[in-house]
Symmetry: C3
Subunit: 309 residues, 3 copies
């Protein structure tokens, strides 16, 4: 049923396939919490080939593999850059795929994962390729919404830099597969690209744009905050004004829906006050945890495919 | 019985608790030597979060965990510093504790471990926090004395920098719990702080200060040497004189007690001549090994607590 | 039968011992491919102490150990250099051998592995010591020839820098143990040292020197290519001419033997065109894989010895 050899982009998945991954993740959550040991992937080896640091992603994959009884090889950014001085990415991937059963690739260049998949003798999982894709982040975001709220019939606000943010574009496409209202909250300069907006509407999504967080915060079920990078603003004063206007504090939460969940891909800087952490709405650390069962689901599905092939 | 959720400072332990840890370590020593495999911590994950390098400590924890069937996540100083640029220690600890069952923290700032324990969802072990505490070092020192000599009714000389040395302060406090005579041997400028000396005497310890190693070396059962750092001396000539006067050579050992043991937290520079290594008194490499069963004892005790909680 | 306590140099092995290692490797290949799990080295710990990066070698050892159920401690070059600032290699080895059952050492200085073996309390495997030895590379080269061609009665061309190349010297000595014709193909400036040539002839090998690859390529069973380093040539034009003349392209392969195998220790730069990769002659990625069963064989043989000791 799940016969992929690689996980490169969310666009490769049908809604059925996504649902199947989310269901599998839920089955595996008991192992993700370490409540019981598993030997599902005993004897299997995953290689983390990370050309740039991404500690959260690396640890989440590593924990997923180890909690299922598998083993992990790590190539950090220093080692990866050293190896890449001497040979092409194609050769590196061909060599490392001799030593493992699945290869997790993080690379600064868009398209690197797709290219790597051509040369690897084992399945590739894209753990972020620059301005390209980061499908496991989107899957864990969806899973968090499913587990802490629900995926159909809800209203989601996505807040922050919607122009450049890879994470939010991918999430918006995925949400458009479900019956979801999407409010896009950003400063005027960082609105979502028109092509993406038309895509979403073409998929049947109800999309609403605003620059005022206050106009939507009390109506949504999910508030997904992302960082606005200082570098996007030539004028520091303008940056401070914008950043300040999307900062979540407890005061802002007085009239929100009772079952609101607040998400953030982390790390947060000033986007969410630490006082918010102790409210029942805060789900961003839980979201971090949900990366483990999602990656477990993908790993088991790829390895099972591998075994049956 | 052992219901701690964190190991931060020796001061948190009663003598009964220390004895219980030492006893547990001895039970686990057979696994520490790799003589038989164990799955006591199978399915469990320990994260090493090291904001500064401390290879001996890191490896000792890692071996302890792996010999008991557990798995390890490593965040070295480069990765840790990269993650700490983007977020607070509190957030880092909250995230990483989602991925493991116990977190071992090494941090240059005093108080970091105590603070981390407030935010972690899993038990924290302090593997050194700057000028603060390093309880597992003290426990392995005590364990070495217990295994290679005995803990009651002995005479211990602690030699070196007694003013700034965190290791020796913590060891002195721990020894004062037992019926032990303590000789404090240091240059005049690096004498133990008066407050610590009074504390020790208040605890009932027999304490003796001297700057002459020769005046005590033939009477002690344990000789604990530490390094004197060059930086403590404005005058290089003065440093050389002092360092030379506490250097252990085979000549110095002609009239020592037959059962003397020599300890050193390592690395040693010139404090102990390599000729001493082959004498029966040299126990500093054995001491390094004893870090494994001690850390095994702590890990199993914390995880058992965890399971029953 | 295999009672070594260390693997330092090919010269320590008799031909019988080599054959025994190659046979063992073949038995273990099924585990190297991850086709079935193994717990042969369960509970055992291997430490990788790498004073310089060598990712391929490190990963190959790590995979070998993990596929056999063992665990691995990694000390990368940064950590190793940090530890070596504070103490001698002898002390580092004594400390780390307290934490493991076998120690794999990579060091830039010739003789480092032999010295380490004197101080280690566990077996040492030399994973390359500068201009010294790298026996596991030679063993995997032999194993590749055995598996993809045969070891007796064949003709082997070794191509490239034969003056400085440690890899090719060691391989040539090993081939001379078998009934093999050896063609040494190099530019005039990089001919094999006369002493080595006489050694080979003294061992009974049929040795032939040339600077023309075309004069031998159609007659050999094994073509072993190595890199010629730019730094060996004061004149860049001379370097380009030489490097170009030893570059393997598909055109060169029109009249080769049907069962020719092409090998390369990797990484390759321009020595082999990527078009060659898809020919049936290309075995250099397979060669990379064969490092795993060879290292498995050595690890199991050393540990078995250890157990019986």
């Amino acid at each position: 049923m799940f016969t992929k050899r690689e996980i490169i982009s969310m666009k490769d998945f049908s809604q059925d396939e996504i649902d199947c991954i989310l269901k599998k993740a839920q089955e595996l959550e008991v192992y993700a919490r370490g409540e019981k040991p598993s030997d599902l992937l005993s004897g299997k080896i995953m290689a983390n080939l990370f050309f740039e640091p991404s500690t959260r992603t690396r640890l989440s994959f590593e924990t997923a593999m180890k909690r299922l009884g598998g083993e992990v090889l790590n190539l950090g950014s220093e080692e990866a850059s050293s190896i890449s001085k001497g040979e092409t990415l194609a050769d590196t991937v061909r060599v490392i795929s001799q030593y493992c059963d699945v290869l997790v690739l993080r690379h600064p260049k868009q398209g690197a994962a797709r290219m790597a998949a051509e040369y690897s003798s084992v399945p590739i999982i894209n753990a972020g390729d620059g301005a390209g894709h980061h499908p496991t982040q989107t899957l864990l975001d969806l899973y968090t919404i499913k587990r802490e709220s629900r995926l159909n019939g809800i209203s989601v606000a996505i807040v922050g830099d919607l122009k450049y943010g890879r994470t939010v574009h991918s999430l918006a496409y995925a949400l458009a597969l479900y019956d979801t209202r999407i409010s896009l909250v950003s400063p005027e300069q960082l609105r979502i690209p028109d092509t993406i907006k038309s895509d979403l509407e073409g998929m049947g999504a109800e999309v609403f744009e605003t620059s005022e967080l206050s106009s939507v915060i009390n109506d949504v079920d999910v508030l997904y905050i992302t960082r606005i990078q200082r570098e996007r603003f030539p004028d520091p004063a303008e940056y401070r004004k914008v950043a300040g206007s999307y900062r979540i504090s407890v005061d802002l939460l007085n009239d929100v829906k009772d079952n609101l969940i607040i998400m953030h891909p982390l790390p947060r800087v000033t986007e969410i006050d630490v006082e918010v952490d102790s409210t029942k709405y805060a789900k961003y650390f839980k979201q971090t945890f949900y990366g483990v069962p999602i990656r477990m689901a993908l790993l088991t599905m790829l390895m099972e495919t591998d075994d049956e092939a």
